[in-house]
Structure formats: structure tokens, C-alpha cells
Subunit: 209 residues, 2 copies
């Protein structure tokens, strides 16, 4: 029996190249959960084959800026002239249904989410060491040396921010990392601050006081 | 990779009749952990078939009281003329080896442990409702109505103490409860306050500052 019936907002974050996406995919492949991936909203043009509401919610620049003003995003950022953001209402609807919503986002975005949704579960995905992260960035092979150097510098600035997260999970082996994230989700539902309300109802605590 | 190398002190507690012992046994039957059960020390006479160091550590009244004075127990209590306690040094030795030490104790004992070892993981095992606890107490069949009534009254006083624990796990189905306890253990190792030290070493955070 799960005492906490509301879903959890699970934020998977960490430096670029750490394998957040791979961990997230492995997590969704595991059994025994009700996870849903949060679809981002963007102003960049829809590409062929992309599905509205599944790959992204596609909106106009004006629409996006209106939503920023309405505080309708858990986090948002601009990237090469286009906006990207996580719509709050979609996330809330899933949480209300009791589903766990997984966000896979960059460190700066995660820290934005922390301010708006402190009750979320913030997981920093860490490389086992610096070398493995650098090797991964180089192995992508599609980027120039300059871009790779920039990503490495960014990672160096992000490493010290791990202490702002609730959990640190090392991505040394992707199934291990995904297993640990699932354990975190199961454990968090049992945390007293999330379960005490339902517990008090069930055991009629404070009812006669 | 586990960033926290020290074992966890896992305190399984809850009202009498809730099935702490059954959950503990089911937990030890699960795979993928390195759990050790903490052996208590007592002044009560050794019974036939009981093994020193496995069932209990058997010591004299004088020896036990000397140890109380030396603050050598995580918790202790007197029960029908005999002392029972959890020796601190034995627990520490296991934690140092990286093994998780499981204590299965009453609510008052658990709150004593909390004072001496706040870094422990405190889990309140709860019944799904009052009736199921009462039915369990009655089903034992070996106790008089008076004793059962006393246990029920004690449980009523203990229910409101759940909020002092880190986690509340409902024992509706014993394997579910044991699975959740194991998830809690896995998750706790990844908690930032337990893993940040090793993480900072691995990623050389703060090394050049």
C-alpha cells in the first residue's frame, strides 16, 4: 500500500554527456512503476515526423512569451533563438492522477524547478569520474573541438552544484543507475512528510484530540 | 557504484503486533544486500539451545550496569527484572565494514537510538488499519485478555509517534513491505548528505579552490 497517492515530480539532471537520457530510457524500460515523461513546449518549427504533444508542444513565440508572463512554466530557457520550457499545468495533471512525472533537464533548469516545486525529487546523475564524461563528449563525434571544450567547461562549473540535489546517482552502469532511481522513487513515497497525512487518516491519529 | 561506503543503521520499529519481525525476516530473504542483524545484550539467563553472540550476548547484571554507565548502548530497557540493550561497539564495527545493520525494536527504544545515532534510517512499520493490528494481537492466542488490552493501549499511544520517523511503511503484505524497506536502503545510500563527500573526491570538486 502506498500512503502517498500523489505522483512524484522526478527531476533527472546532470552535466551534458553524463548519460541522463540513457538512464531515463532504461528507467522507463523497468517494470513496476507508473512513470510519464514530461513533454516540453517549444517555439522551434515542427520537424517532419515529430508529433505534437509527444515530441513537443509547438507554439508561437507570442504564445510562449504570454505563458512566461503567466508563470506557466516550471522552467524555461532560450536556445539559439527558440524557447523551450516545461508547462506546469501538464505536469500537475499527471501528478494529480498519481503518476510520476520524469523531467530530464540541464542543471540550470533543474535549479529553476527546485524554486517552483521544492517537493520534487532532485537527482543529480554523475559520471564515475571526469575522464569518462570527457570520453563520452568526444565520442559523440558530431561536434567541433570548440563546442566540446565549451561543454567541458560547463560541466566543470556544474560539478560543484551536485550538493543542491537530494540524491547523487553515479552512471557507471546504466541499469544500475536506473535501478537506483526506481528505488529512490519507491522510497520517496514512504517518506514521512509525504505519507503522514494518509497515515493519520488510516490510524485515526489526532481524531479525538 | 555506491558513493556512500559506510553501512546504514536501519531501525525497523512500530507497535507490537504490527509484524516488524516478519518484515525483517522477509527483508533478509531478499537478494542484493549486505544486511546484518544486530544481536542484543541481556542479563536474562541463557536458555537451552540459545547461542551466545547469535541469539544474545549474555552478561551479568553488574556488567550490564557498568556498560550503561559507560554509555555503551544505543538503547536499553528493563523488562520483568532483566536488562536488554543494543551494544554500540558491535553496531559500529559492522557499519565500518560497510554492512547495513538492522535493528528491530520497540518505539521507545527507536526514539532512544535516534538521539544517539541521528544518521540512522528510522522506519515506522504501520498496520493498514487498527483492526488488523488488533486481530493480529488476538490471533497470537497465548496471552490473556488483560495483556492484549495493555498492548492495544500501548499501540494507541505509539500510533501518533510515527511522525518522528523518516519513513512510514505499511505492512499490508509482507513482501511488499520488505521490498519497500530494501528500496529505502538503496535510496538512502544515494542521498546527497551521505554521498557528497565521496562525490567531491571523485570529481575533484573544491580541489583547486
Amino acid at each position: 500500500m502506498k500512503l502517498n497517492e500523489r505522483g512524484l515530480l522526478v527531476v533527472l539532471s546532470g552535466p551534458s554527456g553524463v548519460g541522463k537520457g540513457t538512464v531515463r530510457k532504461a528507467l522507463f524500460d523497468l517494470e513496476g512503476h507508473d512513470l510519464v515523461y514530461s513533454t516540453s513546449m517549444t517555439t522551434r518549427p515542427q520537424r517532419e515526423g515529430e508529433v505534437e504533444g509527444s515530441d513537443y508542444y509547438f507554439v508561437s513565440h507570442e504564445e510562449f512569451e504570454r505563458r512566461i508572463k503567466d508563470d506557466a512554466f516550471l522552467e524555461w530557457a532560450e536556445f539559439v533563438g527558440h524557447y523551450y520550457g516545461t508547462p506546469k499545468d501538464k505536469v500537475d495533471a499527471h501528478l494529480q492522477e498519481g503518476r510520476e512525472v520524469v523531467l530530464e533537464i540541464e542543471v540550470q533548469g533543474a535549479l529553476q524547478v527546485r524554486e517552483k516545486a521544492p517537493e520534487g525529487v532532485f537527482i543529480f546523475v554523475a559520471p564515475p569520474n571526469k575522464e569518462s564524461l570527457y570520453r563520452r563528449l568526444l565520442r559523440r563525434g558530431t561536434e567541433t573541438g570548440d563546442t566540446i571544450q565549451k561543454r567541458m567547461d560547463k560541466a566543470e562549473r556544474e560539478f560543484p552544484l551536485a550538493h543542491k540535489y537530494d540524491y547523487i546517482v553515479v552512471n557507471d552502469e546504466v541499469t544500475n543507475a536506473a535501478d537506483r532511481v526506481l528505488a529512490i522513487i519507491r522510497a520517496e513515497h514512504a517518506r514521512t512528510e509525504r505519507s503522514i497525512h494518509k497515515y493519520n487518516q488510516l490510524l485515526e491519529v489526532g481524531k479525538h484530540e
